[in-house]
């Protein structure tokens, strides 16, 4: 990629100048210090036109909204339309969630998310689990009644909803039933099934792994087919690099594994007879944004270029919409420290800037207190305010891809691209992502990177302010910590669930669950039956139980 500039006379002048500088640099203090980024790319002290000259501009960068989309997927990017401010929220019972949701909407959030309770994530209703955990991390939502209360007075036909909703997508089913009851057409429902990427759950063991891998694989393709046909404004797939990077993958590894997963999902959809131009425009991505500023920006720019190439060349998609690498970014929780937690506000601002310069479509900024507890209301407000400051005070959005053309960033983008593509090739050689994760290849790479990073922190090679440098005496007890929901509220929620089950007509619910089991045994679309079961009154836990039985329970590999 590093083409020398065209005119030899200029080159030689540059060479001379560079030699002069190099000698001066070598004589300077600190010249011997080596630097590398988290992906292991060695960083030079200076980049010049000798590294990146701007030759091949159209082929490698082009204009925003044009292939290969390196500078952005839309012609106007953030100049035209801001990213969505999408804060993850989920706590307590549906009423608690609804109150926090309305507060965030009033403070400028333009899209919503729903994080269910961990018991929901694992596939259970509230009455199946130890009550100590209910509502302590995420909202308890099991029934249509719960979803109605969670979304009370929320204009679901106008705000886009991101549901943290792994296979079998019961929250989407409940949302669709709520829409029907409110008279909102499904074609007006927009949003994303976050956590639909079963490979990332299997690899990184994030909390969302409910069904055995190959079962989840089938449900996902059914879900994509269902949404494409019935809920066309919905993004059924969000391919998640975030889990893997949080689990320890380097930024380049996380991007590579994510793209390799997307390749598998696209191949599965093709095998089902779907055309890439029909399903690829609804593929979305979700990434971690670490505090490694330039590396993250380069990661996103490289990912965008690779995806455009994959969609057009590997899958033959002709619709430019299919080449668009749409992604949500979340600032990295792993970078945050319990020590001097207010420092996290600064980290989050830097991470968010990296995401914005990286060209994201939607952003969650972490609350500074996430290392102390589930975020408090004030910390969540500061996180939203951080986005408002960056967008409206700092003028980050006036110019599209403002760091494009930087000798450093363009060189780094090329190097990250090369690194990412080499990891994708390794996954391809292993037989694709499903094979690679079943063999534990990806998990081992992630585990090695996690341990290596931790060792760099412990050796002091990687500074973490407040942890291995600049420590101060402090009292962690001095910071606010979210109170868990009062036991009475959880008891009331459990009583509501009991009432719900007692008062509903059981026969239709059971009939629908039987239909779901038959779909799982045969080849009917499972997602259509999940929605039918929710509509007939079946609960989240009941739906998951049927599919656990038919498709197997999710169990991770025990790899260290």
């Amino acid at each position: 990629m590093n083409k020398p500039v065209h005119k030899p006379v200029v080159a030689s002048a540059l060479e001379q100048a560079e030699r002069r500088w190099q000698e001066a640099f070598d004589a300077s203090p600190g010249a011997a210090r080596r630097a590398a980024n988290r992906s292991g790319i060695e960083l030079k002290p200076l980049y010049t036109p000798r590294d990146w000259s701007g030759a091949h501009y159209l082929e490698t960068l082009g204009y925003p909204g044009e292939y290969p989309n390196t500078r952005g997927i839309y012609p106007s990017m953030h100049r035209g339309r801001s990213w969505s401010q999408r804060q993850l929220i989920g706590l307590g019972v549906p009423e608690d969630y609804n109150a926090r949701l309305r507060e965030l909407l009033a403070h400028g959030a333009s899209a919503i998310s729903l994080i269910p309770c961990n018991s929901v994530f694992r596939g259970y209703d509230a009455d199946e689990v130890p009550p100590e955990l209910l509502g302590t991390c995420g909202t308890v939502v099991n029934t249509v009644d719960d979803m109605m209360r969670a979304l009370a007075d929320v204009p679901i036909d106008r705000v886009s909803c991101a549901l943290n909703d792994p296979s079998p997508f019961t929250l989407l089913a409940l949302l669709l039933v709520v829409a029907k009851r409110r008279g909102v057409a499904w074609t007006k429902i927009t949003g994303t099934s976050n956590q639909s990427d079963c490979i990332s759950h299997f690899v990184a063991n994030h909390m969302f792994f409910r069904l055995a891998l190959q079962g989840a694989r089938r449900v996902l393709v059914d879900h994509i087919a269902f949404c494409n046909a019935r809920v066309p404004g919905w993004n059924p797939l969000s391919v998640v690099g975030q889990h893997m990077q949080q689990a320890g993958a380097t930024p380049a590894e996380a991007m590579a594994f994510t793209l390799a997963s997307a390749i598998q999902y696209a191949e599965d959809c093709q095998a089902r007879g779907m055309a890439p131009d029909s399903f690829l425009p609804r593929f979305t991505f979700f990434f971690d944004i670490s505090v490694s500023f330039f590396e993250e920006i380069a990661k996103f720019r490289a990912g965008r270029r690779i995806w455009a190439k994959l969609a057009r060349e590997r899958f033959g998609a002709k619709d430019p919409k299919a080449w668009r690498f749409k992604f949500h970014g979340q600032t990295s929780g792993v970078d945050l420290t319990r020590q001097q937690p207010l420092n996290n506000i600064a980290r989050v601002a830097v991470q968010a800037m990296a995401g914005i310069f990286g060209g994201l479509q939607s952003l969650h900024t972490d609350s500074y207190d996430e290392v102390l507890s589930v975020p408090t209301a004030e910390a969540a407000r500061i996180a939203v305010a951080t986005q408002n400051v960056l967008r409206e005070e700092a003028q980050l959005t006036d110019v599209i891809d403002p760091l494009g053309g930087s000798y450093y960033l363009e060189t780094l983008t090329d190097q990250m691209e090369e690194k990412i593509e080499s990891i994708i090739a390794r996954i391809d050689a292993a037989g694709g992502m499903y094979r690679a994760v079943e063999q534990g290849l990806v998990q081992r790479m992630i585990g090695d990177s996690a341990l290596a990073f931790q060792k760099r922190v412990e050796s002091g090679e990687q500074t973490v302010v407040g942890v291995n440098a600049y420590q101060v005496e402090e009292d962690a007890g001095a910071y606010p910590v979210l109170e868990y929901p009062a036991r009475e509220r959880i008891d009331a929620q459990l009583a509501r669930l009991a009432d719900y089950k007692a008062q509903r007509a059981n026969a239709p619910a059971q009939k629908a669950l039987d239909g779901l089991a038959r779909a799982a045994q045969g080849s009917d679309n499972i997602m259509a039956q999940v929605v039918a079961a929710a509509e007939a009154g079946a609960t989240h836990g009941e739906i998951c139980a049927v599919l656990r039985r038919e498709l197997g329970f999710g169990q991770p590999l025990a790899i260290v």
């Binding site: 961990n118 994530f121 130890p130 063991n205 020590q339 169990q555």
Partner: protein, 141 residues
């Protein structure tokens, strides 16, 4: 005599959260530090952890909690006592608010580690707790 065998430590997660970077990194570090590590994936039931502790004659159980699963640890302590394993030392690491830390220590947890702790500090604690447990067992046997 108590020093001859390396410490045997179970590294596990109970409850519903799967964030396992911490448990994997700690397990790998303790293994590299020469200890015998029994690592489990997340989502273990309390009964399964107690059974494992019995079968493995574990000195220490390390429970990782990133998303409130530590609220189940008092139940684990009860289950260990009920199984006659009160000598097994339990440590907890992860995101544990101060109020919950007090709750855990009162329930008999030996140590609680927070984000930013050095891995070496965890290893040292495991060695010390192993010595304590073994001398306790030898004293009572």
């Amino acid at each position: 005599m108590a020093e001859r065998r390396p410490p045997k430590v179970i590294v596990t997660k109970i409850g519903f959260d799967g964030h396992d970077r911490g448990s994997r990194v700690v397990a790998a570090y303790l293994r590299d530090a020469g200890m015998e590590v029994v690592y489990t994936p997340p989502w273990q039931e309390i009964g399964a952890v107690v059974k494992l502790a019995t079968e493995e004659d574990a000195d220490v159980i390390g429970v990782s909690s990133l998303a409130t699963d530590h609220l189940l640890v008092p139940k684990l302590m009860d289950a260990l006592r009920a199984a006659g394993l009160e000598d097994v030392q339990v440590i907890v690491g992860g995101i544990v608010p101060p109020k919950d830390e007090r709750l855990l220590l009162e329930a008999g947890v030996a140590r609680v580690f927070h984000p930013g702790v050095a891995l070496g500090e965890i290893a040292e604690a495991v060695r010390m707790l192993t010595r304590d447990r073994r001398s306790l067992l030898e004293g009572t046997l």
